[in-house]
């Protein structure tokens, strides 16, 4: 006996819209089940996880802080994935963006100028783009798999950051803590509102999302991305180059991840330290898919995933579960999003007899 996926003749358009919601509901159901098995009251736990963080102003600010890098990275990834290039290393590009963007405040802290911040952001984006250019180069020149290369580069970036903050960039007056000097005031991304910590990164994220949405919907470049993602051959017929698309999509998503990295360091942390991200670059993959690779959908899904981070922190305090629960929720969500999407396009068929000859029966 074996299980086969059979392509449906036509996908239900209703379920294409409902599918992400269905995935959310299933995630909540299984989350409740998990809390129940941990001996917690599922209703109370889910409330603490998903509702409580929304009730206070300061935690709404935290939500925006966490959603910003997720949306920014996921918007870049959506272009990548739509063009059928699989950048899995946004976490690394985020890290390198943060490092390159921090060159000015760390190495020339005495330079006080309003130019510092814009330069930092630009350098961060360039750093991320150049780091993403490595898998693009290896892919176009040697036909390596960009999934593996970009993923493995994450560890290189993280260990490089670790070495920098423990070695050459360590704050001499920092009591030997592995971190750089704190950024000067001109190097800090300002807060948006008086009421809390949320800074400009969320604005960058929304602008990026709307901009990429416009590109994908109304511009020839977006059309090129979609065509090459669906069929490389048809793209070639249209005169589009799949090679150049590898460079474009990888570097665009790298730039967005790098911008997210320097924004996070400049706006939220104010110095470099060994760990600057709770896995934004990986969580953004879930954000991208939950938003159906649509930049506007990604804004919504970015806030949902940001909520899982906040809820994890809250649940640690109020109901005493590990913050690993956040990862479990994120994993559940990705699993259900992908499986709901699969079941829209395919139906499951259970084949009782094993007949290898059936494979031949194609015409």
């Amino acid at each position: 006996m074996r299980i086969e996926l059979e392509k449906r003749a036509s996908a239900s358009s209703l379920f294409q819209i409902v599918s992400p919601l269905l995935a959310l509901v299933l995630t909540l159901l299984f989350g409740a089940l998990m809390f129940w098995m941990l001996g917690k009251n599922p209703g109370h736990a889910l409330y603490a996880f998903f509702i409580e963080p929304l009730l206070e102003v300061w935690s709404l600010h935290e939500l925006a802080i966490k959603a910003a890098p997720l949306i920014l990275i996921a918007v870049g990834l959506s272009v990548c994935y739509r063009s059928n290039n699989w950048n899995i290393g946004a976490e690394g590009q985020f890290t390198i963006g943060a490092i390159v963007g921090s060159i000015l405040p760390v190495l020339v802290p005495q330079w006080h100028s309003p130019l510092v911040l814009p330069l930092m952001l630009i350098m961060g984006a360039i750093g991320g783009a150049l780091f993403a250019a490595i898998p693009a180069l290896l892919r176009t020149r040697f036909n390596t798999n960009e999934i593996l290369v970009s993923l493995m580069l994450v560890y290189i970036a993280q260990l490089f950051l670790d070495w920098l903050v423990r070695g050459p960039w360590r704050d001499p007056k920092g009591f030997n803590f592995p971190q750089t000097i704190s950024f000067a005031k001109e190097a800090v991304l300002p807060e948006l509102l008086e009421s809390g910590r949320a800074h400009w990164a969320i604005v960058f994220a929304i602008i990026a999302a709307v901009g990429i949405w416009f590109m994908m919907r109304y511009m020839l470049k977006g059309f090129e991305v979609t065509v090459l993602g669906r069929s490389e051959r048809a793209g070639r017929f249209a005169g589009f180059s799949s090679r150049r698309m590898v460079w474009f999509s990888m570097m665009l998503s790298g730039a967005f991840a790098g911008l997210a990295g320097i924004s996070e360091v400049s706006g939220s942390i104010n110095h470099l330290q060994p760990s600057i991200s709770p896995g934004y670059g990986f969580t953004a993959i879930i954000v991208a898919f939950l938003g159906r690779l649509n930049p506007l959908g990604i804004i919504v899904s970015g806030f949902i995933l940001a909520l899982t981070y906040l809820g994890g922190e809250a649940a640690q305090l109020s109901i005493g579960v590990s913050d690993k629960v956040t990862r479990v929720f994120q994993g559940l969500l990705l699993f259900f999003v992908l499986s709901c999407d699969t079941l829209i396009l395919y139906r499951i068929r259970i084949v009782l007899s094993s007949d290898r000859a059936a494979v031949e029966g194609r015409s």
Binding site: Y218, L220, A234, A238, G239, S353, E360
Partner: protein, 524 residues
């Protein structure tokens, strides 16, 4: 004694009321078919008439929605191809399922019991191929074999199962006339042994030549059962098509204009191990001319199209000239902007993106050539969706594209309608050069005649048209001049009126002009 009487009374295969629904669409609707022992039975029908669906049900690939299959007097549910084979039904598909990197014997072994040693299989295969006049070397690699030889592998593979019924799906569509003759000899041998053959085709002369009886399908229903030898090609075609097909109308504009396409000694190395190398291809097409390039599939047609279209530019700019400009190193859009249009063979995923709308598919080939009309906003290249949609509508009206909805996805159109759209997309620009690969492949007769007419009309209005095709009827219908491609070499062009089927067949089989010419030169 009783057994022989039984044999004569009970037909080998009887199909009653066989019906297959795909959704609400009846691909087969109440099909009745009877095949006697030792007959060659033709299954006639146009593309999309339901022949493949019927055969797939007989071979157990598809399960019928209703009706029954009676095999040697017993009703059977054919559950899988393996089951069909064990009943005694063998099948040779139109598209072969062979691994090019493996040898003939290895390919045959893959479909047999894995316990049988390869040497035994090779011996049996060699013996069978000798017995049936199907010369085949079991140790040669499939990649090195011609299409005809590959088909023999499939036939031998089917014969190894000792079938009572062999189903052949469009077997001659990939063969030269000479190779087809050899195949027919084999079929007669099989018939003489009391085996039956179900022969699927839309080539009427062939069916009349070799088949004892014929069943004709149209729109999923049986529209006739007859003895093909008592019919005329015209009466068979009527049964197939339902009405007289509009004959393509041409009046040769004998005055040809300036040379618009000039290819000189084009050499293109093979990009992949199984691709064909183009060797010394030269051709010249003038305004008002349709140059048809005949040839059996897989002899370099795709590679030639790639080089002419600029999808894969060639190393030397001067080897390809269009409208007196060297374009060899120019990409496809550069050539389009010189006035050239291109229609590749594969509709889905090459000429069109299946799940994109027709208007998006219009933009696909014309984003640069019609930049000023279709794009706005300068560098940002904002797409003018409304303009493109109305242009798509204009094309659909011009080519009579039948579709549901205003701007449906390309995948929702039938093959013929999508092809009309793809051709219309280029014609709409009034290209001065049009290069088409297999313009009517898998297209119904009505659409095919419309497309051919459009190609002729385009040439008559002063454009140069290159038609690469495997369909000899089509070639004779549209061509001013005909050249034949074989193993990556192109013959010199011949005026269409001077070529016979036999001559084309010889050229297709690789009997080159050069050797011919050499002989005559020798003789003189």
């Amino acid at each position: 004694m009783t057994k022989t009487i039984d044999k004569e009374a009970v037909p080998l295969l009887q199909v009653r009321g066989l019906t297959k629904y795909f959704g609400s669409f009846a691909a087969n609707n109440g099909i009745d078919l009877t095949i006697a022992h030792g007959e060659i039975h033709a299954l006639l029908g146009e593309n999309g008439a339901g022949k493949s669906t019927l055969v797939k049900m007989l071979f157990g690939v598809l399960q019928p929605s209703a009706g029954e299959i009676v095999w040697t007097g017993k009703p059977q549910t054919v559950t899988s191809p393996g089951h069909a084979r064990s009943l005694g039904i063998g099948m040779v598909f139109q598209h072969f399922s062979l691994f090019e990197a493996l040898t003939v014997a290895e390919n045959i072994a893959l479909s047999l019991d894995p316990k049988i040693p390869l040497a035994t299989i090779a011996e049996e295969a060699a013996a069978l191929s000798r017995a049936y006049g199907l010369p085949l070397d079991p140790s040669s690699h499939v990649a090195d074999l011609s299409v005809g030889e590959r088909q023999r592998i499939e036939i031998v593979r089917a014969l190894l199962q000792n079938p009572k019924l062999i189903i052949l799906d469009e077997p001659t569509s990939v063969l030269t006339p000479q190779e087809a003759d050899k195949l027919f000899e084999t079929l007669f041998k099989l018939k003489a042994e009391g085996r039956s053959v179900l022969y699927i085709s839309h080539r009427l002369e062939e069916v009349q030549r070799i088949c004892d009886r014929a069943t004709v399908l149209r729109h999923g229903k049986v529209t006739g059962a007859c003895d093909p030898r008592r019919e005329t090609p015209a009466s068979l075609a009527r049964m197939m098509v339902g009405s007289e097909v509009a004959a393509v109308h041409r009046a040769d504009a004998n005055v040809l204009g300036a040379t618009l396409v000039d290819v000189r000694r084009l050499n293109v190395p093979a990009r992949t191990p199984f691709a064909v190398t183009l060797k010394d291809v030269s051709l010249r097409v003038r305004a008002g001319e349709v140059l048809a390039i005949a040839g059996v599939a897989g002899n370099g047609q795709g590679e030639l199209f790639d080089a002419l279209s600029g999808e894969y530019p060639v190393a030397d700019a001067e080897t390809i000239r269009m409208r007196d400009k060297p374009v060899g190193r120019l990409g496809i859009n550069g050539r389009r902007m010189l006035g050239a249009g291109f229609v590749p063979e594969e509709r889905h995923g090459h000429a069109a993106v299946s799940d994109m709308s027709l208007s998006d598919n219009l933009l696909l080939s014309r984003s640069q050539s019609d930049r000023t009309a279709f794009l706005a906003g300068g560098f940002a290249s904002v797409i003018r969706h409304d303009t493109i949609r109305s242009a798509a509508k204009r094309i659909c009206d011009m080519m009579d594209v039948r579709k549901s909805g205003d701007d449906p996805a390309a995948a929702s159109l039938s093959g013929g309608n999508l092809q009309k759209f793809i051709i219309g997309r280029e014609l709409d620009r009034q290209p001065s050069i049009l290069i088409v690969n297999q313009p009517t492949w898998g297209v119904d007769a009505g659409a095919a005649s419309r497309i051919r007419q459009a190609l002729i009309d385009l040439a008559r209005s002063g454009s140069a048209v290159v038609v690469i095709s495997q369909d000899l009827d089509e070639i004779f219908e549209v061509a001013t001049n005909i050249a034949v491609i074989s193993e990556g070499r192109l013959s010199q062009p011949f005026p269409a009126g001077e070529l016979t089927l036999e001559k084309i067949g010889l050229l297709m089989g690789g009997i080159h002009d050069s050797t011919h010419g050499g002989e005559t030169a020798h003789a003189h």
